[in-house]
């Protein structure tokens, strides 16, 4: 048995001399005035600095003391990262555009409603008003929505580092659980998302026990006959978003055939994800339903 006082001390964090209880570890903070300044600061404090935008995962991780960066570089107020622009055949969404802005359809939408639908299922409104698409991609929580959805839309991120800019396809950005191809001194600047054509269709299914929770299974299917693009992607897949090649092909061919069988073949090929029977069933159900939405 632990005495109540000790439990309380652990839960509430140490009490400071100024009478304020602290939960997150001590940290320095700087609000960047430009992306270039943020990149410089990140390079200067390599290894100890973390970029913060909405902070909806990072501050939670700090409160739980899972993360303890020495310096926070706040990029959330950089106007150049906070808007979306229509580039003709694509839309460039700034890294600091919030989930709520996407949910509300503020700014151009390349996805014919898919992104707004996804955003509405992402956590809770009070999280969506602050959390950002760039932050979600940079963290790459395996159960997060945007890594899978951006992979399905064949988007790429523009990344800024000391050596300049480069682009990374979202299908290659996430390499594992909370692992990406971002270098320690690089910051996601924007997401470049090709526009779906007028005849494109999409399906999306997120399975979780409570609305807004992280997904237990998450499937997104996109077919765009005009652009010859079709892709079915599974999120919450014990690693990077899983592109289901066999199912994608079935969808591109109009879906004539055995959907469940095609999904089963893809899941068999993903033996390295070590799905247990329950997970596998959830993934199969989510994928099959997302594909049916496309084919309706």
């Amino acid at each position: 048995m632990v005495q109540f006082g000790r439990i309380r001390g652990n839960l509430r964090g140490e009490r400071q001399a100024d009478g304020t209880s602290m939960k997150a570890p001590a940290v320095d903070y700087v609000r960047a005035r430009s992306l270039a300044e943020a990149v410089d600061l990140l390079a200067e404090h390599r290894g100890e600095a973390r970029v913060i935008a909405g902070g909806q995962s990072l501050v939670a991780m700090m409160n739980l003391r899972v993360a303890s960066p020495g310096l926070l570089i706040d990029i959330s107020r950089l106007p150049e990262l906070s808007s979306a622009s229509d580039d003709g055949d694509a839309v460039t969404v700034g890294a600091c555009v919030t989930h709520a802005a996407i949910e509300d359809g503020r700014g151009a939408d390349p996805s014919r409603g898919l992104m707004a639908r996804v955003a509405a299922t992402l956590a809770y409104r009070a999280i969506r008003t602050r959390g950002t698409i760039g932050g979600s991609l940079a963290l790459s929580d395996p159960a997060a929505e945007w890594p899978a959805v951006m992979t399905a839309l064949d988007a790429e991120v523009m990344v800024c580092g000391p050596g300049g800019r480069r682009s990374i396809r979202c299908s290659e950005l996430t390499t594992g659980i909370f692992e990406t191809k971002l270098a320690a001194d690089e910051i996601i600047e924007s997401v470049h998302i090709p526009k779906l054509s007028a005849d494109a269709r999409w399906g999306y299914l997120k399975l979780c026990r409570k609305s807004g929770e992280f997904a237990n299974a998450l499937a997104v299917a996109v077919v765009d006959p005009t652009r010859g693009h079709s892709r079915v992607v599974l999120g919450a897949a014990n690693g990077a978003p899983l592109v289901l090649d066999n199912t994608s092909r079935l969808v591109s061919e109009g879906g004539r055939g055995d959907i469940s069988g095609a999904v089963a073949i893809d899941l068999d090929r993903a033996a390295n994800r070590h799905f247990d029977e329950f997970q596998r069933n959830l993934h199969a159900v989510a994928t099959t339903r997302a594909v049916r939405q496309v084919l309706q």
Partner: protein, 160 residues
């Protein structure tokens, strides 16, 4: 320590804060605004929800230092707000609270739902309330109170 200057419930406030201080702790412990409650401190329970620049936000997941030059509204700051006053009346009438711990944030969340016209059906309301945990009521009376308020406010301003 970082100097911050912000508006809290309409009043200008300046302070020096350690960067790790959450907005919730800043409000509760430095401003004595204890209507903002802390449950889980990782964004799940919703009890700490306040408005930041007019939009609902988790005050446990915002650093006070990041609220420099922003406008924060806590449950203490809604005097005269028609939606909150109607919600208070209907929460009372329908017995939509028991212990009251979740209530301040429940009101702020409900107000946002109603003003964004996302409280049109029981399903819509319940979906949104997934982000505000109540362990007493079972939600039934909360949903009723919000639905009724949404109807009242919709009648007053049909094009709002």
């Amino acid at each position: 320590m970082s100097a911050i200057r912000l508006q809290i419930n309409g009043a200008a406030v300046t302070d020096d804060v350690p960067p790790r201080l959450s907005l919730a702790d800043f409000l509760r412990e430095r401003r004595n605004l204890t209507g903002t409650h802390l449950g889980c401190e990782h964004g799940v329970c919703g009890a700490c929800t306040v408005l930041v620049d007019g939009e609902p936000a988790r005050s446990c997941l915002m650093l006070a230092v990041a609220c420099d030059e922003r406008e924060v509204t806590t449950i203490e700051g809604f005097a005269g707000d028609p939606a909150i006053e109607a919600l208070r009346r209907n929460f009372h009438r329908h017995h939509a609270l028991q212990c009251g711990f979740c209530t301040p944030a429940m009101l702020i969340t409900a107000r946002d739902l109603i003003l964004r016209q996302r409280a049109g059906s029981e399903r819509e309301i319940r979906d949104a309330l997934a982000g505000n945990i109540c362990r007493c009521t079972g939600y039934t009376n909360i949903v009723t109170a919000i639905a009724e308020t949404a109807k009242e406010i919709g009648k007053e301003a049909p094009n709002a």
